[in-house]
Amino acid sequence: MTTITATVRPPASAGGRILNIVKLHLTNPWTTIILPWMILGFILIANIAIWAIILGNTAPADRADVEEGLGYSGASTYIFVYMMVVAVQAIAVTFPFALGYGVTRRDYYLGTALTFVALAVMFSVGLTVLAAIEEATGGWGLGGRMFTTFYWGDTWPQRLFIFFAAFMFFFSVGIAAAAIWVRWKANGLIAFFVGLAIIVLGGAALLTVTQGWIAFGTFFAEAGFVGSFAWSLVISAIALVAGFFVLRRATPKS
């Protein structure tokens, strides 16, 4: 063997170690990139078929009415929930794996967060492009709306921002939930959701007692979709920071 003279690479720098985690998450891009786009494509095709069927059975006089109704589609929302599940699963399986590779929790978490920010950018750009195509083709030639529904904003910069904020929200909550799972398993998640339910119900009770529902509604109405999604970034940031401290003391269990 002549491997004694083989060049030994120096250990990775801090930035290199974090990028290695990004690469680890994308080693097999099937679950995180390929499958979501395939499912999204399938839903779009199914929707186009449905729109065609509806329009085929609509009297010309009612057409404007139907097209307005198509604006209330929730078809594109699946991808956000799907990607949250992907985030949870990715962390549950790669955390114990990465620690076996001698990765610190800090590097793992920063690399994981960076991975999902990058995925959020990629998916929000993709959805914005699809929205532009949808607009340019008059709703895929059928007046259908999947990526330009009213809650995604009116212009492409608005859409890009809203898509991004929505992805960050679901990723961050997913990452925080996964950190709780990795550290405390099912008991931790149960405690987390019980706590969350108490906070939400307590907030609702408080709004009812103080008759604050109108002010609550007005707040979001005034903030608009863009403003409301901007506020969601605050929640995302809190979830990401909390997840870091939860994961920092987690141990890989088998």
Binding site: M1, T3, I4, A6, V8, R9, P10, P11, A12, A14, R17, N20, K23, L24, T27, N28, W30, T31, Q89, A90, V93, T94, P96, F97, L99, G100, Y101, G102, V103, T104, R105, R106, D107, R248, R249, T251, P252, S254
Partner: protein
Amino acid sequence: MTAVIEDKVIEVTGLTKRFGSVTAVDDATFSVERNKIYGLLGRNGAGKTTLMQLLTGQDFATSGSIQVFGQSPVENASVLQRVSFIKESQRYPDDFRAKHVFKSAPWFFSNWDEDFAQQLIADFRLPLNRRIKKMSRGQVSAIGVIVGLASRAPLTFFDEPYLGLDAVARQTFYDRLLADYAEHPRTVVLSTHLIDEVSNLLEHVLVIDEGRIIINEDAESLRGSATNLVGTAAAVDAFVGPREVLHRDAIGGLVSVTVLGLTAGERKDASAAGLELAPVSLQQLIIRRTNTSEKEFEVSA
């Protein structure tokens, strides 16, 4: 370079780890020297895995100190980059195929030898394109063994690395480990139940029982430390006298005893007294010194 080479890779002092009321590691103090192969032996639940998780920063000590390469391993990238820890229970990402493991491992181990990895993949006949979820237990173990060997980390831990590997594959592992270790010396800590199989590999033995390090000895001197004496009950009893007997078996009029530390002169006397002397295998010795029945040990193996 005038720097003194650090001889101790691991130094553990008064290490204790409790899980609630269970003390998994109990006041352990020992050190591991550079470029030796250590056996970490003990029964199921003795604390082997917990100890290795503490040494690799995967778990947090309740009290005591751990120094790996002179520093605490916890969240310490400069230490952990030199450590590879292959667990029997290692989980792999669900959607991974074996090729994804070998694609990603070199990013984390700067000493990774790709040629060696390819050779090991061939030796173990590992199907690279099969999803890990669909693999047999032995094939999954082979992945860990290959990563542990090809990563050539200065400090490598193997925790029961060969669950489900057949005898041929296990021998391949021992052979490759020894050959590669000879060319690329490094520190290896191997935990196992199959004590006799690895007996010739080990240079130093640590035995842990109920969280305590009960044996910490050079393997060579440990192997020579006990002797089996077989003879008639009268002859055996006359010779043994007040000596400490680790184990005693009687079949009919014949008695077999295990005693510690016979000198050359005493061996001669024993032979003259008509006793038969036989070496004690490492496994038997450890079973006798941990006061567990052989049966128990074999069941857990």
